[in-house]
């Protein structure tokens, strides 16, 4: 034991030795040191003839037995809560860094709760349809999922070649929303189940499939495309090409493994979306 060690420092070390959590020990030591300093200053103020060493000695005497104080402080400051607090701070930091990393990897800094990448594009398909022109069919429960058709539109499409109209036809578009009870049950972007087992028929009896054609991926024209999504739901944008011009409604049907649904979807009478296929025609000529 060092003979020259400051008695105050020695007292503080003894009084805080029982506090095992180091940050707490440091904080308590600082508080006690400040308290001792105040007492010393008070003595020097009250007894101006007193030296600093004498004032410190007297202040220490008034603080009490360091060992007894140490035992009481050790009893109050349990280490496990301190370690738990430190661990929780480290965990928060780790998870925050992981989240930033994942956001960076997915290039998804703003849409991580849902995807609205092509909001403007999907919404343009249905813009102009008035409330009195269309109403949705009733929603249906299939297994744990809730299915509903939330919007529909009639399109007019034309293929141009050198500025001249080569062909004109009508198509239908509609949004099928699938909602799951929990976020982790949400249906994925690609849904081969719907592609393979859903069919459609219009009011004139013409039938349609949702299987993509060989060029569907090249022209980004799959009959079923993943649209907007939220925490528990996902939209599928359905495109039914070349419906009968007189068609008033389209029936969507699905049947696989005993799970089935059927929606009769009215198609608005008025065309509100016009698509010009001249670009694609040129592409085909070029390729």
């Amino acid at each position: 034991m060092e003979q020259n060690q400051n008695p105050i420092a020695q007292w503080l070390d003894t009084a805080t030795a029982g506090i095992r959590f180091q940050p707490d020990r440091k904080a308590v030591k600082e508080e006690l040191a400040a308290h001792l300093e105040d007492k010393t200053a008070d003595f020097q103020r009250i007894f101006p003839d007193m030296t600093r060493e004498e004032a410190e000695e007297r202040a220490l005497g008034e603080m009490g037995d360091a060992g007894e104080i140490g035992r009481e402080l050790a009893h109050i400051h349990k280490p496990w809560l301190g370690y738990l607090w430190t661990a929780s701070r480290v965990l928060v930091l780790l998870m925050a860094v992981s989240l930033m990393g994942l956001l960076g990897v997915r290039n998804n800094y703003f849409d991580f709760l849902g995807s609205h990448d092509r909001d403007y594009y999907w919404n343009s398909w249905y813009a102009g349809v008035q409330d009195h022109e269309w109403s949705p069919p009733p929603a249906q429960e299939v297994g744990i999922y809730r299915l509903e058709v939330t919007r529909a539109a009639r399109w007019e499409e034309q293929a141009l070649h050198g500025g001249e109209k080569e062909q004109v036809w009508s198509s239908a578009a509609m949004t099928l929303r699938v909602t799951a009870p929990w976020p982790w049950e949400r249906v994925p972007e690609e849904n081969p189940g719907l592609e393979e087992h859903m069919t459609a028929a219009d009011s004139t009896g013409k039938r349609y499939s949702f299987q993509p054609g060989p060029l569907a991926d090249i022209f980004d024209d799959r009959p079923i495309q993943s649209g907007d999504s939220g925490l528990c739901w996902r939209n599928y944008e359905l495109y039914i090409e070349n419906i009968s011009p007189e068609a008033e409604w389209v029936r969507l049907e699905y049947d696989f493994g005993g799970q089935s649904f059927s929606f009769r979807v009215d198609i608005p009478e008025r065309c509100t979306y016009f698509r010009n296929m001249e670009y694609q025609t040129q592409w085909e000529v070029m390729s």
Partner: protein
């Protein structure tokens, strides 16, 4: 700027340490959920991956009736309201996308009407091939199943192909379980160096379903009297696949 944040932080109510721990752990839970959400809720187990594939075909909710295999390769028999499905999940290493972990297959999706006889494509713990049966006539409490196997569907390059018998019949007995299913364990021949059943299980170890082998099922009542005898073939592989 740092001082501004420090001053702002100092103005917030200072919680006792206990409540700080609670606050931090709540933040960890929220951040973990966000991370999982960003990661696409990765399937943590083979069964979870299999259920995801079922979900894509709206085959939910379903109940797990039987699982065979363990670790990297597992097969599942599940039962829904109107269907029975059999499939597998194989753990794969993916270097293209760290999210993909399981190659999942739905081999059979069968309506729950009439007799169902379906084999699981991964061996059970006793190294046997399990054939599950349901929809038997009332009164049948036990049965005997014979399956005629051959090596037609096997790869000629597979191990010991030429040492295997070209065809053989495997037999098993089973009793009706409480859930109404029969599970017939077709066992390999332990004394033979090369067993056809082992060869078949190995040849479809990662990808395939049990081929459409013919079977003969004899159902007995409590007194041991024959209730019904049925002949048929195991169902074809519907080859529905996904990565989860």
């Amino acid at each position: 700027m740092k001082t501004v944040w420090k001053n702002l932080w100092a103005k917030l109510p200072q919680l006792p340490r206990r409540w700080k721990v609670v606050r931090n752990l709540a933040a960890v839970l929220l951040l973990s959920a966000l991370c999982l959400r960003l990661w696409g809720w990765p399937s943590l187990t083979p069964y979870g991956a299999f259920r995801r594939l079922e979900g894509e075909y709206l085959l939910t909710p379903s109940e797990l009736v039987l699982r065979t295999g363990s670790g990297k390769y597992q097969a599942f028999l599940t039962e829904g309201e109107n269907w029975v499905s059999v499939g597998r999940a194989s753990q794969m290493s993916s270097y293209d996308d760290f999210r993909y972990k399981y190659d999942v297959r739905l081999h059979h999706v069968l309506p729950k009407a009439g007799l169902i006889v379906v084999a699981l494509p991964v061996a059970a713990e006793d190294h046997a091939m399990v054939v599950a049966v349901k929809g038997v006539p009332k009164g049948a409490v036990s049965g005997e199943l014979e399956v005629e196997m051959n090596k037609d569907g096997m790869w000629p390059e597979s191990h010991a192909f030429h040492q295997l018998k070209s065809a053989e019949t495997f037999t098993a007995r089973a009793e009706k379980e409480e859930n109404g299913w029969f599970f017939f364990h077709l066992e390999q021949h332990p004394l033979e160096e090369y067993c056809l059943l082992e060869g078949i299980l190995n040849s479809m170890s990662v990808w395939g379903a049990v081929p459409e082998f013919p079977y003969r099922l004899t159902l007995l009542d409590e007194a041991g009297n024959e209730v019904e005898r049925v002949e048929g073939t195991l169902p074809p592989d519907q080859r529905i696949q996904g990565w989860r």
